[in-house]
């Protein structure tokens, strides 16, 4: 027979366990894995899914969806001016017959455009992250830094002015990211965690 006190203790332990697991999952989902591949810094988020929910529904309806991703490097978690920035725009679509994703990285120069197809969801997402890189020369050499990834589904209203005659307007993109997220606009914010990263750490191996 379990006493009332024991029952309460077990219940509290279960609740705490579930909460800890949920926090751990959330933590892992919202944190970037960082690695240095030669002279290029790459990020990944293995447990994070952005091809999901309403966006996935629209993709399965045959629509093309553009995602804008902005990876920033800063020497403080609450930066005003970042040390380095990488912005990329991806057009994602879903093959109705093959049930696989196709992703195109859209650039101002047509010859730089890159496309992959026949990818499942995680592979398509991983490809997007893989194409969001920062050169090692742009990283702060002798001081720790933080990484933050701002990813959002592009609002069609933001498309105006993003490209000018000289190509994609970075200023316009930065302006888009400076603005609060609109209602219903899918938006995710991921970072490298509370501990800053150093180039030395990265040389030794992956940083979480």
């Amino acid at each position: 027979m379990i006493s009332r006190r024991s029952f309460l203790a077990i219940s509290a332990a279960l609740v705490a366990g579930v909460a800890t697991c949920a926090f751990a999952i959330e933590y892992n989902e919202r944190h970037l894995a960082v690695r240095l591949d030669g002279d290029v810094l790459h990020v990944s988020a293995p447990n994070f899914r952005f091809l999901s929910g309403k966006s996935l529904e629209r993709l399965k309806d045959g629509a093309s969806i553009a995602f804008i991703a902005q990876l920033t490097v800063s020497s403080s978690p609450n930066y005003v001016v970042p040390d380095a920035i990488s912005v990329a725009r991806f057009a994602v679509s879903y093959d109705i017959w093959q049930e696989r994703f196709s992703v195109t990285k859209i650039t101002s120069r047509t010859e730089d455009k890159r496309t992959v197809s026949h990818k499942d969801g995680p592979a398509a997402e991983a490809w997007c992250f893989e194409n969001l890189a920062i050169s090692r020369s742009d990283l702060p050499a002798n001081k720790p830094f933080y990484l933050q990834l701002d990813l959002r589904e592009e609002d069609p209203r933001d498309q105006t002015g993003v490209i000018g005659d000289t190509g994609i307007s970075i200023a316009r993109m930065v302006e888009i990211f400076s603005r609060p997220v609109r209602d219903k606009q899918a938006h995710w914010l991921l970072d490298s965690g509370p501990r800053p990263v150093t180039v030395e750490d990265l040389r030794k191996g992956m940083h979480w």
């Binding site: 045959g62 629509a63 679509s93 859209i106 498309q159 005659d165």
Partner: protein, 448 residues
């Protein structure tokens, strides 16, 4: 050069540069939007069919869907699945049908190289619209104008209209009309509607002279004035229930409770008002067949109004009216034929009588010259040929028809004409063929 002139040139150059730069940016943005759509992996497939809310475009019924947009939607069939074009058409549908949203939905077709396109429409829960459904000028018969305000909350809609119409009936009627409709009465296939109208009537001198002449010639003034009793005002309450039997066929059953304030007391007594209460039946058929090169459309309507003393009517009559229309589009050409006819058995009030010689029948003829009292039987045919220029259509038409009373059908009359129509706007010049005389009549306006 003066300073003002220099400033003006500078301003003009600046504006020009500004416009050019803006235009360039806008074009580039369009290119970006296109780049996203063009990367869509489904463009490798051919479009097998196009539907709106699951209904094939050819069978989709909404008067606000223009023939041009319908044609553009239908022409997607057989072409590669271009999401830019599909998105563009979705936005046009949203604007044309006043919708909350239109979502494109692709699904697998009958073979692995084909997809089906469905435009899922999302109606606004609340809608309000102010419109001018009719605005017409006829150089013979003057203006016809209507102003309408309509609102909708879920399936309940209410519209209120004000207008002056000198085109449809023997008299000119000016007043208001309101209509409430419930588009979902137990089921989407059953609709309930009720209309309330109130008009003040003005009679053409030719009509008054014709009644006086008839009274004098028959030596029976009472009979003539009874048959063609003129009224100052009339009010109508018309409830109806409509059953959509199939996608193409619907039947309405209703009543028309019409009350008129007469110009003179009735021969039977001093009562200045008379009633024309009738039971009504309307059968409407509409069918379209969309091929890749030829689009055909058939529309038919039969209306029956039966007024009896049992319904509290002072008049006892039945009025039958039939309208059949066929349209064939091939490339830029449109050929259409519309046949209308009807007859009245019994003694009906003047507003029920048929008229020829207006903006839709025997165009160019003056209806008061044909028959100032209207007729109790009529047949009319209109054949038109149109050629599409960009967004507009140039048209040539040939109308023929005759109107009569009792056993006597009048003379078969003809008219020819041409015009130009763009959307709801049209201008036309009608030439009545009247013993070799040519007296062109100009009409212009907009008509839904």
């Amino acid at each position: 050069m003066s300073q003002n002139a220099s400033s003006a040139i500078l301003l003009a150059v600046s504006l020009g540069l500004g416009i050019t730069a803006f235009d360039g940016a806008a074009r580039a943005d369009q290119a970006l939007i296109r780049a996203v759509s063009e990367s869509n992996v489904n463009q490798q497939y051919l479009v097998e069919s196009v539907s709106i809310s699951g209904v094939e475009v050819a069978h989709f019924r909404d008067s606000k869907l223009s023939p041009t947009l319908r044609h553009r939607l239908a022409s997607l069939v057989g072409s590669p699945c271009d999401m830019t074009t599909i998105g563009d058409l979705a936005r046009k549908l949203q604007a044309s049908l006043h919708l909350e949203d239109v979502r494109e939905h692709l699904s697998r077709g009958s073979s692995p190289d084909r997809v089906r396109v469905n435009f899922e429409v999302i109606h606004k829960d609340y809608a309000f619209d102010l419109s001018v459904p009719r605005f017409l000028y006829d150089s013979n018969q003057g203006w016809t104008t209507e102003l309408a305000a309509s609102g909708r909350v879920h399936q309940h809609s209410l519209s209120v209209g004000l207008g002056s119409n000198g085109d449809d009936l023997t008299e000119r009627f000016t007043g208001f009309s309101t209509r409430y409709e419930d588009a979902h009465l137990f089921s989407d296939r059953i609709r309930f509607g009720i209309g309330i109208e109130g008009y003040h009537d003005l009679w053409n001198p030719a009509t008054r002279r014709a009644i006086a002449d008839q009274a004098a010639s028959t030596n029976s003034g009472v009979a003539a004035s009874n048959l063609f009793a003129l009224y100052r005002t009339r009010r109508n309450i018309a409830p109806a229930v409509t059953f959509a039997l199939t996608r193409e066929l619907s039947v309405s059953f209703g009543a028309s409770l019409e009350r008129m304030e007469m110009e003179a007391p009735s021969p039977a007594g001093n009562d200045m008002s008379m009633s024309a209460n009738a039971a009504t039946v309307d059968v409407v058929y509409s069918y379209g067949a969309e091929g890749t090169e030829i689009q055909q459309r058939w529309d038919g309507r039969y209306s029956l109004r039966i007024a009896t003393h049992d319904l509290g009517s002072d008049y006892e009559y039945s009025r039958h009216a039939v309208s059949l229309r066929y349209e064939r589009r091939s490339g830029r050409t449109v050929v259409a034929d519309r046949l209308t006819g009807g007859f009245i058995a019994g003694q009906a009030p003047v507003f029920e009588r048929f008229v020829l010689g207006n903006s839709s029948t025997l165009e160019g003829w003056n209806r008061y010259a044909i028959d100032p009292l209207g007729g109790d039987r009529m047949v009319h045919n209109s054949l038109s040929y149109g050629y599409q220029f960009q967004q507009g259509t140039a048209e040539a038409f040939y109308d023929m028809g005759m109107i009569g009373n009792g056993d006597r059908m009048g003379t078969l009359r003809h008219s020819l004409g041409f015009g130009f129509r763009q959307g709801i706007f049209n201008v036309a010049m009608g030439f009545p063929v009247d013993h070799g005389r040519i007296a062109p009549v100009f009409t212009a306006g907009m008509n839904y």
